[in-house]
Amino acid sequence: MGSGRLYAAVAAGGFRRYATYRAATAAGVFTNTVFGIILVYTYLALWDERPHLGGYDQTQAVTYAWLGQALYSTLAIQGGGAEKDLMARIRTGEIAVDLYRPADLQLWWLASDLGRAVFQMLGRGVIPFTFGALFFSMALPQDITTWVAFLVAVALAMIVSFGIRYLAALMMFWLMDDRGVTQTMMILGIFCSGMTLPLNAFPDPFGDIVQSLPWAAQLQMPANVLMGEVSPWHAYAFQAGWAVVLLAAGRLLQSAATRRVVVQGG
């Protein structure tokens, strides 16, 4: 299990890297809390007009809003996870250093991003969520099994989220500038993950479509598992399916990139 220890060390490093910046974490907690409050009141106004929108009652809508804030940086829904570093490394040619190491590029970045995600969940996720639970009425499960099932769904969501962002980052091997990709990923991420509105609130067929895209595995699935709206196994199957597809696509793109493309810079 030599390589297991390596990737565990990489994940631990990813965790500690983010833990270093305490002021940034504090600012993030503040931001997510403020946004949470704004979003909750928006949802309350909306659900007042349209009760049971998307099958959620008001407490469920509030729960969903706070969960979104808790998972926002954990899943790097808007981007800004390990893929940001990877993009920069490809653009500057630093990637050369990663390539001559006896380690797998994708596993390396996955481990690093999971370390980051776990830190963001503890650092920027737990506090806003607890704040929400203390000051608003939320639909939280009473049994430990559902909480555990929820955490498994979050872990799978982390992998799917990485899978999407890794593909985006590898585009940098062919592009000179990351702005287009970053902006597109940001808009798709916010909208298709259900950061603006829960995906089940959208009318069909549009609602069906967004709920079958990989972004739905990020926020919608863990939320549904937490609130008992879907069977955990159904959620896991959906998430794991996308995780496999995305990671396999990442692997293909990675081998194409490293074989064909110039490592930039002298």
Binding site: A9, R17, V97, P102
Partner: protein, 319 residues
Amino acid sequence: MFIEVDGVEKVFDVRRKTGFLKRERRQVRAVDSISFTVARGEMVGYIGPNGAGKSTTIKMLTGILTPSGGRLRVAGIDPSRERTRLAHRIGVVFGQRTTLWWDLPLIDSYRLMHRMYRIPDDRYRENLDRCVELLELGGLLEVPVRQLSLGQRMRGDIAAALLHDPEVLYLDEPTIGLDVISKAKVREFLRELNGERGTTVLLTTHDLQDIEQLCSRVMVIDHGRMVYDGALAGLHEAGGSERILVVDLERELPPIEVGSAARVVKVEGPRQWLAFPAGESAAGLVARVAAEYPLVDLSVREPDIEAVIARMYAEKATA
């Protein structure tokens, strides 16, 4: 031979926009049929102007670039085919890049190397202690890499490349941007590494003092082609270099005439500069000048290797 490079070339396709939707494809030969061998334990300097193909060669030797043609072996391994297997046997330092974890203390990067290269615990400890001592990293291990100075970071990077006992070390500009003291430390360390451990070293640099102080052999590459491969001393002959005799006369005089033995390259008041072939003794020339002219003082300047190489590059460019 430890490193075998036989007729290796690397051609890049460069696409250029020439009009609306129109693109021109052009091939750039970064490395054009280069051959050389390096024996185990050799320390070789690899120099050339910017864009000559040095880094491309190094990247092919590490396996991260696949040659377009030719044959390449390092320790019997084809680098691009078995990059990971080779990685355990080579160490690489790209001076302008870092392998260290920017946000974290130096020691964290070393712990990662420990796992990545699966270094046995006692070897890791021993190598780390040795590098810490020789590269003076003792007080820096707990410092985040982003807070290190360039010289400290470079030493940190060199240590990171050596923890797994590589048989060959590729150094791409290891002294770039370093001050005199830091350069001296790095050179001293490399000399010891090569002398005591017999580590093969391939050193790419723009700083010819690196070469003069470390390498008995030098390879010069320009426009992707090898223009010189041999002893450092031979470079002077190959480059047609000259030594300069500076003479101070009693008074201002017309340029000194000593036939074909030397030519005056500069006159400034009573001081004159005479150039003569680097391979010849200065004794005869000095005796002759002293006999025929009112000499006050003199000094001999050794040929400037940078000038030699600059001339070599220039000749190739016009050829």
